[in-house]
């Protein structure tokens, strides 16, 4: 392919356009990262390298608030990711391996609908729903909302993986005296695992990151990391926010990289 296709950098204006996109996308992130190490309360004037804001994050007057928010965020993200991954795996099995059923296309649409509905609509609808059934708002309401919108994100990589696995492996397992349960446990599940793991990580990050829905359905005084950061920013941007943002960015990059490596490992294997 390399021989027949033209080098893309030969197109006029390609270089300029690429740099423009990269700068618009990543310059703000880099500024945040750089200024989180600024030895000054200013967010615009560089006064030398320091870890003072990281110290502030972990040991400053607001440390307790952020720590609690982080614990809340991680708890919700883990529980929501686990639950939505289980649900997504089961739906993928039913959709792809089950017998064709009436309304299969509609079901596929329903599973993926949350991806297409504007988040603010989901947020308002969820809030109204919880209010109308008298459900107390707090950690549990956040968790339930997160599980719902995480399902399609977990479903997509899992379904893609399952679609790539020919059902001849299951037939071979059955042929070699495995029961349906053993066939799933010993053959299909291990083969699906890369997809399940990347679905899990995607759901985890989406949950960790969510602000709009969380902000609507959280109870008073219950904060996740994004809502806590938003609350702090409303009182003026301090460099400790930049430090927290940098830490979250690092965590996200780490998880996305792991997810990528896992899915690549899975693809190489067969």
């Amino acid at each position: 392919m390399a021989k027949t296709s033209q080098r893309i950098s030969w197109y006029p204006g390609f270089r300029e356009m690429a740099w423009l996109c990269l700068i618009i996308l990543y310059a703000p992130l880099i500024i945040v990262m750089v200024y989180s190490f600024n030895n000054s309360p200013s967010i615009t004037v560089w006064k030398g390298f320091s870890l003072v804001w990281y110290n502030e994050v972990f040991f400053g007057p607001e440390a307790g608030k952020f720590k609690q928010a982080t614990v809340n965020s991680l708890t919700i993200a883990i529980l929501a990711a686990v639950t939505s991954t289980v649900i997504a795996t089961l739906s993928a099995l039913a959709m792809i391996r089950g017998r064709a059923f009436r309304g299969q296309a509609v079901t596929f649409g329903l599973i993926n609908l949350p991806l297409m509905v504007p988040e603010i609509v989901t947020a308002v609808a969820t809030l109204i729903f919880f209010a109308s059934i008298g459900f107390e708002r707090g950690l549990l309401s956040i968790l339930l909302a997160h599980i719902v919108f995480c399902i399609p994100f977990a479903y997509l990589p899992i379904a893609a993986r399952l679609q790539g696995i020919s059902n001849v492996y299951e037939q071979a397992a059955r042929d070699l005296y495995a029961t349906p349960g053993q066939t799933f446990r010993l053959i299909l599940f291990p083969m699906m695992l890369p997809g399940i793991l990347s679905g899990f990580l995607l759901a985890f990050i989406i949950s960790l990151d969510d602000f709009i829905i969380t902000n609507f359905v959280k109870g008073a005084g219950v904060e996740t990391l994004p809502t806590a950061i938003f609350g702090a920013v409303k009182q003026g941007i301090k460099p400790n926010i930049m430090a927290i943002s940098t830490l979250m960015l690092a965590a996200s990059i780490l998880l996305v990289t792991i997810s990528y490596l896992i899915s690549r490992m899975g693809n190489n294997r067969d």
Binding site: Q171, A172, A173, L176, Y177, I187
Partner: protein
């Protein structure tokens, strides 16, 4: 081959339902496969051979009929309850398990004791000469090695019948030829009944004890490779197995008493074709009064098709001798050199085309070229009448 039947197919029909036009994949077929037999289902794609194999394995429902395994009805059993194993066309080795784990998989599911699993798995790996690859993953093996592991995996649980679904089709020619020998060898060594599906007639002829030729969901003929090649029952079988010249002929009556010279030869051929009758026919190309073998009796005066294999036709340059029996004149249309033999397209004087194959033996010199007039001899013992 003993008289015990490993498999009995009893009036099996398979219909794939469809609202407007349901597809009949198998149309009420019945036959038996003997114990220890290397049995091949041969036919073009879509003939139903794979469907039948998958039914024996338990991967397809049977619409109507029964399949018996050593006398027991297995039609309604799940595939994990049937003591038959399959070598899949795509091998279907479990990619996350090692070669050893793949081969041991069936034995473990059967709950055999650990020592037996170990011994048996190693014996299987020895059998396919893959012992040193036991700890490899399937992706680290070549196509031929994966093929052999798939075979070992299916043989390890010592099935009563082994099903092979075009297992050689993904291999290149040399490997395919080597694997034919190996499969045949393993079948003899283990004594397991093999049911082998292929669309490759050469594969079927070289490996099988018996072949069932299938087309359009029906069995066209069952017999040994020699029976099927020498005495095809109809045009489909004649054309599908090897190459065939189909000529038109007219039945003139029952056998005329053969000339003395050909009596000895004729009686030898008679032994190979037991259930056959002899007819006297005139070929439309001009050879008259031939005594040929037929599997069915035909009315006098009936137009029939007869078959002759290209390698049984003899060609000589035109000469002026006497006593030319069963000979017609013709012209050489084209000559193709194929290595072991030479293929000659002939145009008979009456306008019919004929294909001949001449072996390139050490003293074979082409004594004629394209456009030459030649004498074509069609020996009557090589001609077969075909049924409709």
């Amino acid at each position: 081959m003993t008289d015990t039947h490993a498999i009995d197919i009893v009036s099996v029909t398979k219909v794939y339902p469809h609202r407007t036009d349901p597809v009949v994949a198998l149309d009420n077929i019945s036959f038996s496969i003997g114990d220890n037999e290397f049995f091949t289902l041969l036919g073009p794609s879509g003939c139903g051979k794979t469907t039948l194999l998958r039914m024996i394995g338990g991967f397809e429902d049977i619409t109507k009929g029964q399949i018996l395994l050593f006398g027991d009805d297995i039609s309604r059993l799940q595939s994990n309850q049937r003591p038959v194993n399959t070598v899949f066309q795509q091998y279907a080795l479990f990619p996350h398990l090692t070669v050893y784990e793949n081969v041991a998989f069936g034995l473990k599911r059967l709950g055999r004791d650990t020592d037996f699993i170990k011994t048996q798995t190693h014996a299987m790996l020895e059998l396919i000469r893959m012992a040193e690859f036991a700890e490899r993953k399937p992706s680290q093996l070549s196509g031929g090695q994966q093929q052999r592991v798939a075979l070992a995996r299916a043989l390890a649980p010592q099935p009563k019948v082994l099903l092979l679904d075009e297992p050689l089709s993904a291999l290149d020619l040399k490997l395919r030829q080597a694997m034919r020998e190996e499969l045949k060898e393993i079948q003899k060594h283990t004594g397991i009944t093999f049911i082998f599906v292929t669309h490759d007639q050469e594969e079927a002829l070289t490996m099988s004890d018996r072949i069932a030729v299938m087309s359009n969901g029906q069995v066209q003929q069952i017999g040994s490779p020699k029976e099927i090649y020498d005495n095809p029952t109809n045009i489909f079988v004649a054309n599908f197995i090897g190459e065939a010249n189909i000529l038109k002929a007219k039945v003139t009556g029952p056998e005329k008493s053969p000339a003395k010279a050909s009596k000895a030869k004729a009686s030898k051929a008679q032994a190979a074709a037991k259930d056959q009758v002899k007819l006297c026919v005139d070929l439309e190309c001009g050879i008259k009064g031939l005594n040929i073998f037929s599997q069915s009796q035909f009315q006098k005066g009936k137009q029939i098709n007869v078959m002759i294999r290209p390698e049984r036709i003899q060609i000589k340059p035109l000469s002026r001798g006497r006593g030319k029996v069963n000979t017609v004149g013709g012209t050489v249309k084209s000559i193709s050199y194929l290595g072991t033999d030479t293929q000659v397209q002939l145009l008979l004087d009456d306008g019919e085309s004929l294909l001949a194959r001449l072996q390139n033996t050490i003293d074979a010199t082409s004594s004629f070229g394209v456009g030459n007039k030649v004498e074509i001899t069609i020996p009557e013992i090589a001609i077969r009448a075909l049924s409709e």
